[in-house]
Amino acid sequence: MYKYKFLILLILFSISTILFAQDKFEKESRIQPKDVPPRALLFIDSLNLKTKIKWYKEEGLDKESIEAKFKLNKAIHSVEFDTYGKIEDVEIIVNWEDLESDLKDSIFFQLNIDCLSHKIVKVQRQFLGSENELLFLIKNRNVFEPLKIRYEIIIRCKYEKKVDLFEYLFNYDGKLISRSRIIFKNSSHLEY
């Protein structure tokens, strides 16, 4: 029995080490509406937004995506699509203070394991669902059952005499899904 427990612990430790070792590097370039896949453009047009929409192309280490950013009801929204224009998720910036206490406790539990000290930098509530469900969400600001909710949080984390920025992804009740270290761009031309 102890042998199995040890094996399970070893596997869990390996997974957590893999999560810890991931690095996040993204290239984000501004694009014009004419370069946006028609399906994505149609989705955003159907929202009848009165505010300015900024379009970006994001290139990560293993995937590309298209993102629309806009302000609606005083909240910054970003809608992510794949390169064919199919919607992937909707992210809305929220205040840390507005999250439920149980959720915050669960997130803090994880952060206290990973960091000696930490600071919340940015919180985004992420919604996953079908095109119609996400359209309904943005238009009516109504969260309903089929939508899957996650939290993408940028944390300033101090650990092992180092300080880094991390992007954490938690599920709806604050269980860790993934964690990646944010790589800063070279700034020697700003320093010397």
Binding site: E28, F184, K185, H189, L190, E191, Y192
Partner: protein, 230 residues
């Protein structure tokens, strides 16, 4: 280029020209090419070595006599060791040797830099002190603050193959033989990121000093900077 950046470039170009028109003042124009080589080391340490020349094309009084002799006024060699001490801050110590008209000038340098990532641009604050020694002049002590901004022409940050606008604004307090002077620098530059480790910048380096005590001295240098990471 978006309209806001165009307006900013116009204002930055207009500012030095408007200052030099007023009052009795002298000027220098020339070139300021530099090569920066950066090397990352272990345990958050890094090294920066820099070679910079100052080439004089012409000098004289504004609306007066002008000397158009081309001269290489000086060449600087510097080596700076830096260590990351926070999420986005670094301290650095270094030494500069200057060859100026056959005289060797020594300068020790200490600085602290914070780089902030804001929405759509980056800001760097540099606090620097240096001490300059030579056989011909009294020691000079300077206390400097520089704010630098990097505005990408495309997207939220500068990526390889993209242009950016960089603006440096520096205030240099100096004390030499108990005489105080203030120099102000305004340096708008257009940069291009060839790769994550290789950037080229060019633009105007405008400097004004001696306006507190003597005749104002204006300097206009066309700069060409290379930043290479190895």
């Amino acid at each position: 280029m978006n309209t806001k950046i165009k307006h900013l470039v116009f204002i930055l170009w207009f500012f030095p020209v408007s200052i030099s028109v007023f009052g009795q003042s002298t000027f220098q124009t020339g070139g300021l090419p530099s090569l920066n080589i950066n090397k990352k080391l272990k345990n958050d340490w890094s090294l920066n070595s820099k070679i910079e020349s100052r080439l004089l094309f012409q000098q004289g009084e504004i609306n007066g006599e002008v000397d158009k002799n081309f001269t290489n006024i000086l060449t600087d060699f510097s080596l700076i060791g830096a260590k990351i001490i926070g999420l986005n801050s670094r301290i650095a110590f270094g030494y500069l040797i200057r060859f100026e008209e056959g005289v060797l000038i020594h300068r020790s340098i200490q600085h602290y830099v914070v780089v902030q990532k804001l929405s759509g641009f980056r800001l760097a604050h540099r606090f620097l002190t240096d001490q300059t020694f030579s056989v011909n002049e009294e020691p000079k002590f300077r206390l400097r603050y520089r704010i630098s901004s990097e505005l990408p022409f495309n997207g939220e940050s500068v990526d390889p193959g993209e242009y950016y606008l960089k603006i440096n604004n520096e205030y240099i307090n100096s004390l030499q033989a108990m005489k105080y002077d203030l120099e102000i620098r305004l340096i708008p530059l257009i940069g291009y990121g060839i790769s994550e480790r290789f950037k080229i910048e060019t633009g105007l380096d405008y400097r004004v000093n001696s306006f507190l005590t003597n005749k104002t001295r204006n300097s206009y240098w066309m700069t060409l900077n290379f930043f290479i990471g190895i």
